[in-house]
């Protein structure tokens, strides 16, 4: 079922999209200095066009060193360019563990994980990860604009200062997330929803191939929710693979094309309308699961 859908997407892929991918690839080509890196990128350019997976997990066992039990066992799954996936499941089901393993924050216990053709990504900054809010020190002397500028750091060499182009990209990301009037405010003086917008703006400025967001919709207002969803839709146009962990099942049903249901294993993965069945949700969340 999935592969049929995939084939459909490939055949209907418009020429303009192909051109966009090609230009993105040539941009990353210019970034790479070494000849060896170049050949890898060309290979990836071809692979991209054939739609090889952006994230590839094969028989992967995920968890922490100290835990006796693994959090996720024998996971095999592929995510492709442009996939917009909601990751749902009860607390402790392994959503964050999956993200952390993909990013390379925690070591892989067993099996195989490839991101954009390599372990932890092919480029230095092709993966952007927005952790849960608690993970960041909010009392830091830093302004909104500076936080967003961090998204450009992966593209700067050691001695290089952010240039005109970087400043433009940062400004446009701030605009798109609707935080322009806060740009010179200290991050501590922003509300929770505003902070979430700032961090998505940083990810936008990074121009990632893969974006992972851990519960971006918890404790944000409706306006922020809409801005985040709107920008996720735009990222899909750029063939960015997006994984979003959330507990808001209604929001998933309305807004996400694909859904991954986790509970220490893959309960179901596919088109949201097809996998969000009462049976699957009950299997993941237990008997009391909410019906959509």
């Amino acid at each position: 079922m999935i592969s049929v859908q995939r084939a459909k997407i490939i055949t209907t892929k418009s020429i303009s999209r192909l051109i966009r991918i090609a230009s993105r690839c040539s941009e990353s080509l210019r970034r790479n200095v070494h000849v060896q890196r170049k050949s890898i990128t060309i290979q990836h350019m071809n692979n991209d066009l054939q739609s090889t997976p952006m994230i590839h997990l094969k028989n992967a066992c995920l968890g922490y060193r100290n835990d006796r039990e693994l959090v996720l066992k024998n996971i095999t799954i592929d995510f492709f360019p442009g996939d917009e996936v909601a990751v749902i499941g009860p607390n402790g089901a392994g959503k964050s563990t999956l993200f952390k393993t993909i990013v390379g924050l925690i070591p892989l216990m067993q099996g195989e994980v490839t991101v954009h053709g390599g372990r932890g990504g092919n480029h230095k900054d092709c993966v952007s990860y927005i952790p849960q809010k608690e993970a960041i020190d909010w009392n830091y002397p830093i302004t909104v604009r500076e936080v967003v500028m961090m998204g450009r750091f992966g593209k700067l060499s050691f001695y290089q200062k952010p240039g005109k182009k970087d400043i433009e990209i940062v400004n446009s990301a701030i605009q798109r997330m609707g935080v322009a009037d806060l740009a010179d405010r200290k991050i501590r003086d922003c509300s929770g929803g505003q902070q979430q917008r700032v961090f998505l703006a940083r990810s936008l400025a990074q121009h990632p191939h893969i974006l992972l967001m851990d519960e971006p919709f918890s404790a944000v207002d409706v306006a922020t929710e809409q801005v985040i969803l709107e920008n996720l839709r735009q990222l899909r146009e750029f063939k960015v693979t997006t994984l979003v962990a959330t507990h808001d099942l209604g929001l998933v049903y309305e807004n996400f094309e694909r859904t991954l249901i986790l509970n220490h294993r893959i309960v179901a993965y596919g088109l949201t309308k097809e996998v969000m069945t009462p049976e699957n949700l009950q299997e993941a969340f237990g008997k009391k699961a909410v019906y959509v």
Partner: protein, 279 residues
């Protein structure tokens, strides 16, 4: 009037002023990283960890300052290594290393009979005894530390603000953190002559905390803290000359005074704007 300029007639006092101001600046700037990370304990720990280095240097007849530097760097790297283990949190690692180093220092010192005077110098500083070589060491190492902060500003910024992001950018977070710890260790070493091991924490924390109340960006915090640090060094020493009190204590007290003034000013302003809002 001449009385006020009296301290500047003596070469040794000019050296002391130069040392106090330099230490004030470097401590305040490096201290910003400690304050924003809420790691005051680390500064305290490293400053006491210099003790075994000093004791060994004394026993072997080597340079006390160099011994202190080596000890501080070793303990800094040890903390960095140990806190990489998942089971051990960083403050636990600091606690273990710092107390072990302190115990080793005390054990070594207890074997020396005539140590009393030099020990006081290490613990409380003796800025008036700064030699030309001492000053060269303080200025040289201090400038190196400032240069490193300037060159690695971007890397230290991300690693202290959002280490997860630094990891996703595939930076060597452990290496950058270790570098930062070594910079703190160097800063403490050049400070023990002036303010002493027991009070150096204050010079790391207080000016940075004062500046933090007034600024929005890290580099602004650093520059403001440096001004407070330099002023504390200068006026603290000046005060100690006339009031005839310990120079280290005097410097720290002046920096605390700055903190209190800024804190009260902020409280008053906030109170006023709060009232205005309510009205």
């Amino acid at each position: 009037m001449n009385l006020l300029f009296e301290p500047f007639q003596y070469d040794f006092l000019l050296r002391s002023f130069a040392a106090a101001i330099m230490v004030g600046i470097v401590c305040s700037i490096v201290g910003c990283y400690i304050v924003v990370q809420s790691m005051a304990f680390l500064g305290d720990a490293l400053s006491h960890a210099v003790l075994p280095g000093v004791a060994i240097a004394y026993l072997t007849g080597g340079s006390l300052t160099f011994g202190a530097l080596v000890a501080a760097v070793v303990v800094a790297l040890g903390i960095s290594f140990l806190s990489d283990e998942e089971e051990i949190k960083e403050d636990t690692a600091i606690g273990i290393f710092f107390t072990a180093a302190l115990a080793l220092g005390v054990a070594l010192i207890s074997t020396i009979q005539t140590y009393a005077i030099d020990l006081t110098h290490i613990l409380f500083g003796n800025v008036l005894g700064v030699t030309v070589e001492d000053l060269q060491f303080i200025v040289g190492v201090g400038l190196l530390v400032l240069l490193a902060v300037f060159l690695f500003y971007r890397f230290f910024l991300v690693v202290t603000f959002d280490p997860v992001m630094a990891k996703t950018l595939k930076w060597n977070v452990r290496l950058i953190r270790s570098m930062l710890l070594v910079l703190i260790a160097c800063t403490i070493t050049i400070s023990i002559n002036t303010v002493g091991a027991s009070l150096v924490t204050a010079m790391l924390i207080t000016p940075a905390a004062t500046a933090l109340m007034l600024t929005k960006k890290l580099w602004q915090t650093m520059l403001t803290a440096a001004v407070f640090g330099a002023l504390s060094g200068f006026f603290g020493l000046y005060l100690s000359y006339f009031a005839d009190i310990s120079s280290g204590a005097s410097i720290v007290l002046v920096s605390t005074l700055f903190f209190i003034v800024v804190y009260l000013r902020k409280k008053l302003l906030n109170g006023r704007s709060g009232l205005a809002k309510r009205g």
